[in-house]
């Protein structure tokens, strides 16, 4: 029996990076999956590898989380299949760096559409399943930039700080309904998103980490597993840093 045996988790942005790792760790723990991502090909690869390896049920939906109608249709479809996930991982996110002066409206809109509105709408849509199950857990992905801030990341930081506010308020709203809401604030994690940074920035980041090593997606996935499982049954409204003692 795995930690999540018999449960179903819906994971956004599951085709790569942290989302893919969370999907794998959850599948390993016996969890059935509903995976959402923009890239259908990558998503199908993740689906095929996990279903074969862990003997779980998995559904995938090609959804750009900016598109609320498409997101809504995906949820509608899973509910019509009588699947009511009790775990939601709001992982889909974009990181675009820019000083405020150089930030164009399209870019600001894009960051908030994915990081903030995507999380809010997914949570709203997932509520129906949680209420059916009389329980649920939401795991939001914030960032150390949301808790501490960083130069050149005022917009991204604002979007991740919004996730913290959302998590704390929603946890209070949903606690009486046995629904927990927590967030993870990763530090510098080795993903495609951070690989895009220039070498100098990369080195500077590394020197600011107390543990002197870059975090791995699995480090974040393990905390997500804890938050998804009954091990954290009395934990809600918390923002858990996974940053190896990074100082910004």
């Amino acid at each position: 029996m795995g930690l999540l045996s018999g449960k179903t988790a819906l994971i956004t942005g599951a085709s790569r990076g942290i989302g893919k790792n969370i999907a794998e760790l959850f599948a390993q723990a016996g969890c059935n999956l509903v995976m959402i991502a923009r890239n259908a090909k990558q998503l199908a690869e993740v689906h095929n590898s996990l279903v074969d390896k862990y003997n779980i049920t998995s559904y995938t939906y090609e959804v750009d989380i900016r598109n609320v109608v498409s997101l809504k249709n995906a949820f509608q479809d899973i509910y019509e299949k009588k699947i009511f996930p009790e775990i939601l991982v709001n992982n889909a996110g974009v990181m675009i760096d820019s000083t405020l002066q150089m930030a164009k409206p399209d870019m600001i809109e894009d960051i908030f559409s994915v990081n903030v509105y995507g999380t809010i709408y997914s949570s709203q849509l997932a509520l129906k399943g949680f209420l059916r199950n009389r329980k649920g857990t939401i795991i939001n992905l914030s960032s150390i930039i949301g808790t501490n801030g960083n130069l050149g990341q005022s917009i991204y930081g604002a979007s991740k700080a919004a996730i913290i506010g959302f998590t704390k308020s929603l946890s209070k709203e949903l606690a009486p309904l046995n629904i927990r809401v927590n967030a993870i604030a990763p530090g510098f994690i080795d993903t495609d998103m951070t690989k895009g940074m220039n070498q100098k920035f990369h080195e500077k980041n590394l020197s600011s980490i107390g543990m002197r090593k870059i975090g791995q997606p699995e480090d974040v996935a393990k905390v997500a597993l804890f938050l998804a499982s009954d091990l954290s049954g009395y934990v809600t409204g918390q923002i858990i840093g996974v940053d190896g003692s990074m100082v910004i």
Partner: protein, 97 residues
């Protein structure tokens, strides 16, 4: 006695089978808001009684979903602010009263 509770629950489920849609809806309200069935009438409005607050509204929507095997849309969740309005909205989902 657990056996007695099981029998009561079973009897309540049997009762539901023979209810018409109005009775089903009234029972859904009573169950979700944790009020006596006699308190459920067409004058019942959102926040008109302490038991119908924003939290129990979520439970109410879920209970109606389950009762009629439907999935109420977000706009309708917000609009369902009285028993009368609930009946009106549910017609969209082919629930006849």
């Amino acid at each position: 006695m657990p056996e007695r509770n099981i029998i009561r629950t079973f009897a309540a489920e049997i009762d539901k089978i023979f209810m018409n849609n109005t009775e089903k809806l009234n029972h859904a309200f009573a169950e979700a808001l944790n009020v006596d069935i006699s308190a459920v009438n067409d004058d019942l409005k959102y926040q008109s009684i302490p038991q119908w607050d924003s939290i129990s509204h979520m439970v109410l929507i879920s209970t109606i979903d389950e009762t009629f095997n439907i999935s109420i849309e977000t706009d309708d969740v917000i609009g369902m602010n009285s028993l009368g309005k609930a009946k009106e909205i549910l017609k969209k989902y082919n629930i006849v009263f």
